[in-house]
């Protein structure tokens, strides 16, 4: 497709809020067709990393490339047009609209082409027969699934999901994992921030561990979960692990 094999690259991202360093020299790159999980304890900078990628926050320094385009200084909506789709940590579907209105809003009418992933997700999540319902009548996990479908409305090349399975039952979590793997096999690059290790085991090819705003480790699920220092930061032995 393009010469650059990377869908998304972040180089030396720095972001400071007052005295807190929320992103410290974060390097991150995602290949085409990759499915990555980003994990880390609370306050590790996962959500900040997401807001930097989508443009809600601008980094103090560093660069972000999206399909080879430098998007570091672009407004969020332009990044979406360059191929980012994302969902937020808390569900932000439009509750005053019906399911189909949510999807129409995300789809720019019914005219947008090449929406393979969008259609796949709609069918796989079983939302196609709930189109006329008010969104506020959906169950929590269905709202999460709806927002994933909405994020696919503009046929993005990379999908960013911030804790998509928060509040879901184990069965719903596994169904989410299955659908994401299916989308990934159909060529979509996906980054998921997640706490649920069962989910991470089910989907991830590669795992990135963030800690205190910096990339702490990167590797396969087995490598990462076997590492003593990763376990330590999750158990709160922050100082000894960092040294």
């Amino acid at each position: 497709m393009s010469k650059n094999p990377h869908v998304l690259q972040a180089m030396a991202l720095h972001k400071r809020f007052g005295g807190v360093v929320a992103a410290n020299a974060v390097d991150f790159s995602l290949m085409q067709g990759e499915l990555r999980c980003v994990i880390g304890p609370n306050g590790a900078g996962k959500s900040t990393f997401f807001t930097l990628l989508c443009g809600i926050q601008k980094p103090d320094s560093g660069r972000i490339l999206l399909n080879g385009h430098d998007v570091t200084k672009l407004e969020p909506f332009r990044r979406v047009r360059f191929g980012i789709g994302l969902t937020f940590q808390s569900n932000r579907t439009f509750r005053m609209m019906s399911v189909s209105e949510n999807l129409e809003t995300a789809r720019r009418g019914s005219m947008a082409a090449d929406a393979l992933h969008f259609r796949m997700a709609l069918v796989a999540f079983g939302l196609a027969d709930k189109l006329d319902l008010p969104t506020s009548r959906l169950a929590h996990h269905e709202m999460q699934w709806l927002e994933i479908c909405m994020a696919l409305g503009r046929a993005p090349t990379v999908l960013l999901l911030d804790e998509p399975t928060a509040g879901m039952s184990p069965a719903e979590t596994m169904r989410t994992a299955d659908v994401l793997k299916e989308l990934n096999r159909a060529g979509l690059a996906i980054v998921v921030v997640e706490h649920d290790i069962a989910f991470v085991r089910a989907v991830a090819q590669t795992v990135t561990v963030l800690h205190q705003g910096a990339v702490f480790a990167e590797g396969t699920v087995d490598e990462i979960t076997a590492r003593e220092d990763v376990r330590n930061i999750y158990l709160g032995k922050v100082r000894s692990a960092a040294q």
């Binding site: 909506f77 509750r95 005053m96 209105e101 129409e104 503009r154």
Partner: protein, 355 residues
């Protein structure tokens, strides 16, 4: 594609545009009632004196301004307290341009276009700074109110010969007089013709805006009202969409301003006073801000009420309207028309459940 195949698609597009989900009055009886009301308005001059018809035209002419505020506030979530500023700018510019070419048949056309362009330009300039700076939503009503009051003060200071533009005097607090009626060729819109001009503008803007709120762009506007960041991260330039609606609302105010100066042939700075600035907000809030139909009905009725009260010498017209607003906000905060419609719907559902 054959015509036969195209017809249902066309019907569904038109049907969606006019009877889509974003306004009340979508059922067959509602359409029938609207048609009856339109017909009775259209045939009203047959039984009315030209004086009465001109009065009714006055009750109607603020509806486009109210529509604009309904779009901006009800559908878009941005409250403006200064729609009268665009009303006044449009009216004054119309007076200046058309008054300077009293013998030219095109003068009132040029005046109308210049008036609307001036209102749009003012809104674009102010709106650019508001929306591109991503100013917090609660500041917008204050900024727009300040605009209206500044304009009020400025126009009050325009007494004297140095404020005569060409042959038209702005007139300070006494205002501008002798503003010509709209004309096409040698046909002047006065009396009954003016009534039909106003009625036509109101009907066309109602149908057009109803199609707009049911279009994709209208859908995006409602998405912005609900969640700005979610909408932006679906790929929409929220600043641009909000600026567009702000300018559209200003142009609609400008249309009301044009009709107003053609109705009375004068305009004074008092149209941008604090009292006048509050009125569109009251009409729209009392009606139910996210329904064009409700806004049209209530704007008509409240204008009629205040006209009748004040022409009967009643000093308390504004007080009565204000009490009305407080009562509606306390007992039917979604607007009186929307409350009634919802009650009727609930009643109908209960009846079908019983049957």
């Amino acid at each position: 594609m054959s015509v036969k195949m195209a017809a249902p698609i066309l019907r569904s597009c038109l049907g969606r545009a006019l009877a889509g989900p974003h306004d009340i009055g979508r059922t067959k009886p509602a359409w029938l009632a609207m048609a009856l009301v339109a017909i009775s308005f259209l045939s009203y001059p047959a039984i009315a004196s030209s004086f009465s018809a001109t009065n009714v035209a006055y009750y109607l002419l603020n509806i486009p301004m109210a529509f604009g505020l309904s779009l901006l506030w009800g559908y878009g979530g941005v409250l403006s307290f200064g729609q009268v500023a665009f009303f006044a700018v449009s009216g004054y510019v119309y007076g200046i341009v058309s008054g300077n070419f009293p013998d030219a048949t095109w003068a009132t056309w040029a005046g109308s276009l210049a008036g609307l362009a001036a209102a749009a330009a003012l809104a674009a300039a102010l709106g650019y700074f508001i929306f591109y700076a991503r100013v917090a939503a609660w500041i917008v009503p204050i900024l727009t109110l300040v605009l209206a009051l500044l304009l009020n003060t400025f126009l009050g200071l325009t007494a004297g010969a140095q404020w005569t533009i060409g042959q038209v005097a702005l007139g300070g607090y006494n205002g501008m007089t002798g503003i010509p009626a709209f004309q096409i060729g040698s046909f002047v819109f006065q009396d009954y013709a003016f009534y039909y001009l106003v009625l036509g503008v109101v009907l066309v803007s109602f149908v057009g805006l109803r199609a707009f709120v049911n279009s994709h762009r209208g859908q995006v506007l409602m998405a912005i009202r609900e969640d700005v960041i979610r909408t932006e991260l679906l790929g929409y330039d929220v600043r641009l969409e909000q600026l567009f609606v702000f300018v559209l609302a200003a142009v609609l105010s400008g249309i009301s301003g044009l009709l107003y100066v053609q109705w009375g042939n004068y305009i004074t700075p008092s149209v941008t006073s604090l009292q006048q600035a509050a009125l569109p907000v009251i009409w729209v809030a009392v009606a139910g801000r996210d329904s064009l139909l409700a806004v049209a009905i209530v704007t008509f009725l409240l204008n009629q009420l205040s006209y009748i009260l004040s022409s009967a010498g009643n000093q308390y017209a504004l007080v009565i309207i204000g009490v009305f607003l407080v009562a509606v906000m306390l007992f039917a905060p979604e607007g009186i028309v929307l409350r009634l419609v919802r009650l009727a719907q609930r009643f109908r559902i209960r009846k079908t459940e019983v049957a």
